[in-house]
């Protein structure tokens, strides 16, 4: 049969030389390499106590932002939920009452806003979709937990702490 390429290369298996056959030179070489690592600084980071510095475009836990007056920015438009490829976001919208003007910026707000952290892939599309700049993935690593239900984060965990008025 015609060779299909011109790159054909005949592989010749060279017989081992004497030095290779007695193993010992290769062995000492290997041993000296490993022992040199014995004295090197370890690369381990002792995680919970010490944390690696995150890059500036690191995407962590979500936070729902407030505006400069301390009102929640989210208007429950649902665009984040729509854009979410993992379908991790659910919300229930509610209408703002006149006395709640201090709490919510828009007339419509999310009374329930939940993100399932087990579904979320931290792609950041919700952040990009939001027209109100209400959601950012600027938090820490989502901590581990024992039960699935504990990974569904509600507004209590997601909404930013209110500004302290002076």
């Amino acid at each position: 049969m015609e060779p299909l390429t011109s790159k054909k290369k005949v592989l010749i298996q060279k017989p081992l030389t004497f030095a290779e056959r007695i193993y010992l030179p290769a062995l000492t070489k290997g041993l000296s390499i490993t022992i040199s690592h014995f004295f090197k600084k370890e690369a381990t980071i002792r995680y919970p106590e010490v944390q690696r510095e995150m890059s500036i475009n690191w995407r962590g836990m979500h936070s729902l932002k407030r505006d400069e007056d301390g009102r929640e920015r989210c208007t429950a438009c649902g665009l984040c939920a729509l854009s979410c490829p993992a379908e991790a976001i659910t919300m229930i919208a509610a209408e703002r009452k006149p006395e709640e003007k201090e709490l919510y910026r828009e007339e419509k707000y999310a009374s329930v806003y939940e993100i399932n952290m087990l579904r979320c892939i931290f792609c950041g599309l919700c952040e990009e979709a939001c027209p109100k700049e209400a959601i950012y993935l600027d938090g820490p690593i989502v901590p581990s937990d024992y039960l699935r239900k504990d990974f569904i984060y509600g507004k209590d965990k997601l909404v930013e702490q209110p500004l302290v008025k002076k």
Partner: protein, 345 residues
């Protein structure tokens, strides 16, 4: 035989047994630490300061695990296997001279459980027995992987025993005795046997790696081919016994190598030290030196394990029969000729 003799021996046996168990326990810890350091990691460091209690935690874990005995196994042998492995691993320490005799209140206490005049043969016999634990465990499991592993272990041990025995014969030509005590005393100061038998020592250490089933000869435990090897079916402390026996074996073979080739408790300048610190502390320093040598060997075992990949089975057999055995025979012949010439002139 008076009662003090019995008590003295009993205490010595208890101490040696305790020490070998503790060393085996901390070898598991040391193995993980050494592996970690060789790979630029930290190793276990959570249990206690620097992870010092890790072996205790491991032991506790082993005890708490559910024990499973497969229905189709031979139950009696299945239980005997790990015990046998432990037993054969431990009894090797009986003939090793741990130090020169201590003199307390006019009484001379030898730091050796028994000085039988065929100590080398005893060690050799015990080492050969150690394959039974593996064999019986692997066979009783009634599992093809375990059985294959047991067969591997048996053939590997038999092959390497030949070369090991021949390398010891060359050593015996030099020492003229089979008693470990006399072998050690013949290496007074720095007249260590390794200086007269360098090739014999290399052959012996290679065989020791094979006999203890340590990497690069850990084919009976080859995970890629045999799952867990002979202890695939074992769980709980029975598995613990097998793993533990391996470390005791390592300790014993390190002790044997230090004794046979590296002068045991002898070190350069020992006469001067013995003269100046008295008949109790002096021998104990010798014992400390012996233990330093043993630890160095144990470290070497681990160092090799984390450096060299496992041999293929045919390479193992090739090395054992076609390389080590001829070399060992040549070593015996050369040693014999040299001794004959030296005696003539």
């Amino acid at each position: 035989m008076d009662i003090t003799f019995v008590i003295e021996k009993f205490i010595l046996v208890a101490i040696i047994f305790g020490i070998s168990l503790v060393i085996a326990m901390y070898s598991t810890y040391a193995e993980r630490k050494v592996a970690a350091f060789l790979q630029d990691r930290l190793g276990p460091d959570r249990a206690g300061p620097a992870g010092m209690f890790q072996p205790l935690a491991d032991g506790l874990k082993m005890f708490m695990k559910e024990e499973i005995i497969p229905t189709h196994s031979n139950k009696w042998l299945f239980m005997v296997g790990p015990g046998l492995a432990m037993l054969t691993a431990c009894i090797g320490t009986a003939v090793i001279p741990w130090g020169s005799a201590i003199t307390v209140g006019g009484r001379v206490i030898p730091l050796q459980v028994t000085d039988i005049n065929v100590g080398v043969l005893y060690i050799f016999g015990v080492v050969s027995l150690s394959v039974y634990g593996v064999m019986i465990g692997g066979w009783a499991s009634n599992n093809k992987y375990s059985l294959l592993s047991a067969i591997r272990a048996a053939s590997q041990n038999i092959s390497y025993e030949v070369a090991m025995g021949l390398s010891i014969i060359a050593l015996l030509l030099v020492t003229n005795t089979l008693s470990l005590k006399e072998i050690v005393e013949g290496q007074h100061g720095w007249h260590w046997n390794v200086l007269y038998q360098p090739l014999g020592f290399i052959l012996f250490i290679v065989c020791a790696f094979a006999e203890t089933n340590r990497a690069p000869f850990d084919l009976p435990e080859c995970e890629t081919e045999l799952i867990g090897g002979y202890h695939t079916e074992y769980s709980s402390m029975k598995l613990g016994f097998y793993l533990f026996a391996e470390y005791i074996n390592m300790f014993v073979s390190s002790a044997v190598m230090s004794t046979l080739y590296f002068g045991g408790y002898n070190y350069p300048g020992m006469d001067w030290v013995l003269l100046h610190v008295g008949p109790v502390i002096g021998p104990l320093i010798g014992t400390a030196v012996l233990f330093a040598k043993i630890f160095a060997f144990i470290f070497f075992f681990m160092w090799v394990r984390w450096t060299i990949p496992r041999f293929r089975y045919d390479q193992l057999m090739h090395l054992g029969w076609k390389v080590l055995m001829p070399l060992a025979i040549a070593n015996v012949i050369i040693t014999g000729i040299v001794i004959a010439i030296v005696e003539k002139f």
